[in-house]
């Protein structure tokens, strides 16, 4: 009967070793992030640089509808700084007393201004491709922010035997390897205020950090509460175990 057990274990192991050729699953390499682990917190400087990259590069095409300007408090900006950034963008409000919609400077409570009125408008100027909303990109791709980083640094020349479709670009990490978006991050694409050299890797890392924050703005609260809950549970469960031992001692 041990033999049957052995066969069962062997079957499970054999199955898990079968390579899956069907659909190519690209698992982006894991990067080191300040927000990794039980005590992880976002790197504030990187978040602010990352927001700058989003604002000056990505936001030309990509919306972030789930984000509001007030959420920028989470990357370490003050109320005045947030108000100033919001005021750079016009938000449609209304209707006013005459029944007309009107434009006004955005406030902290407004959503990030979308670059296009709707999906069709976005496709019309992007060669038919739709620049995705980036609010949750660090959650809705396998590998999360690691995927974002891999994609942004994954542009390369296509293999000799690969014929790219018109207007498409080769990317090592995009599913199918043909992506409509041309390499968005160029060396010195932005001028960092803190003097950090704006290399492709640095900018990609910063904007990936910012997008990770945008997808999980509660991450720091989650970690800090989680550590406290865990500590409590370990002590509580330890006490329960001691109680259990004491009560059951009479029986054994």
């Amino acid at each position: 009967m041990r033999f049957v057990k052995f066969l069962a274990v062997a079957a499970v192991l054999a199955v898990s070793a079968v390579p899956v050729q069907a659909a190519e699953v690209l698992v982006p390499p894991k990067q080191k992030w300040a927000h990794d682990g039980f005590f992880g917190t976002f790197d504030r400087a990187s978040l602010q640089r990352g927001f700058q990259v989003y604002k000056e590069v990505c936001a030309a095409c990509h919306a972030m509808k789930q984000m509001r300007y007030r959420n920028l408090a989470g990357i370490g900006l003050s109320e005045a700084e947030i108000a100033a950034i919001a005021a750079e963008y016009e938000t449609t409000d209304g209707p006013n007393d005459e029944g007309e919609m009107f434009q006004r400077p955005s406030r902290a409570s407004d959503r990030f201004k979308s670059p296009f009125a709707n999906e069709l408008a976005a496709r019309a100027v992007n060669n038919g491709a739709y620049p995705l909303d980036l609010s949750l990109i660090a959650k809705n791709r396998l590998g999360g922010e690691n995927y974002v980083y891999a994609l942004l640094t994954g542009y390369a020349d296509p293999p000799a035997d690969m014929k790219l479709a018109d207007g498409m670009n080769y990317n090592k990490w995009f599913p199918g390897h043909q992506i409509a978006m041309a390499q968005p991050i160029q060396p010195d694409g932005v001028q960092y205020a803190d003097g950090t050299p704006a290399t492709v890797e640095q900018m990609s890392k910063d904007v990936s950090t910012f997008l990770a924050f945008a997808a999980s703005p509660h991450l720091e609260a989650r970690n800090s509460l989680g550590v406290k809950v865990m500590l409590f549970l370990f002590i509580f469960t330890g006490l329960l175990y001691a109680t259990k031992r004491k009560i059951w001692k009479n029986l054994h």
Binding site: M1, A11, V15, Q66, N140, R222, V229, L240, T243, K244
Partner: protein, 421 residues
Amino acid sequence: MAKYDYVPSPFRSNPIVKWVDHRLPIFELIDEQLIKYPAPRNLNYMWNFGSLAGICLVIMIVSGIFLAMNYQASTLHAFDSVERIMRDVNYGWLIRYIHMNGASMFFIVVYIHIIRGFYYGSYKAPREILWWLGIVIFLLMMATAFMGYVLPWGQMSFWGATVITNLFSAIPIVGESIVTWLWGGFSVDNPTLNRFFALHYLMPFVIVGVVLLHLWALHVHGSNNPLGIDAKGPQDKVPFHPYYTVKDAFGLGVFLIVFAYFVFFNPYMLGHPDNWIPANPLVTPPHIVPEWYFLPFYAILRAVPDKLGGVLLMFGSIAILFLLPWLDTSRVRSAKFRPAFRAFFWLFIAVCLVLGWAGGQPAEGPALLIGRIATILYFAHFLVFLPLLGWFEKPLPLPSSIAEPVLGGGKMAAAAAMEKA
């Protein structure tokens, strides 16, 4: 005997308690069914999972009610309302992660609870109806979890709902009409989301009702135990409180540590990234998969090239559990005394894991073949192995009482003598 045994509960003599009990014997019920309730003294930690499942149900209902207060069941607003819970509602992320991961925890606990029943033969006479009620709870849980997964209105919500509701179109003649009726239209859309929300809110309370029946049936003959033999007398049992209240509480602590790990430190692991993309009827995900706890059944569904056949086999894989008390022809309950059954039991567990793996792969190539072999073995376990094992297996000798292996023969006899004295 132990010093906690059968101490009369002091609260029963309180005049208010007495006054109430005379009119509605609710305190008597608590005393009889929760405090003095005699349980086999040898239950191991596998018996913790029943009470854990009940606690999971409560956690899901409580967290779900708070989510429902902030959720909007409309295809236009569902996804954004869930994001609002995650971002703007105070501790909304915590409630959502508890509910989201709670579903997975509930299924893990219930699967262990069911597997414990398999191993120790808890479904055998006189506990067949108890077992049936358990399967009914399991089916209700599956329906509830499926509809709950649709509510965030992400890509997997929408496409999962489309795939699963379409299963009913396999029914001959009336299938298409049934699907239209389920959808409330001609595709999964706003009416579908609305009714799923209503039913998702209703079903847990139906589950509570069946759980009460499950407990009622349990308390008629009491728990089975690792030896699978009936209790012979008071020396085989201990009062539920404090022995099992404290043991269950300790188990709950361990469970909450695992639960909290997922909620606080790995909340996305058990989900699918695609469900953070808003539902889009025009874009089909390359690979539609259900939540992990449905994968074995999904593998069985896809193992058959014929749609109706696959649907029948999938429902059959659960329906067959209703017959388990008779398909298992052995009169010995516990696998402890059934060496041959034990081997086939582990084979069955391996088959279920393989099915789970196959369900997560695209239905083609070696994964499909392995899924088919595992499907055959799954049914063979119930239809071939179990009936034959009862005939051919020579079980080990059973101990004469529960207390015997615990206390040792001499001591047991002494204790029994003392009990009589």
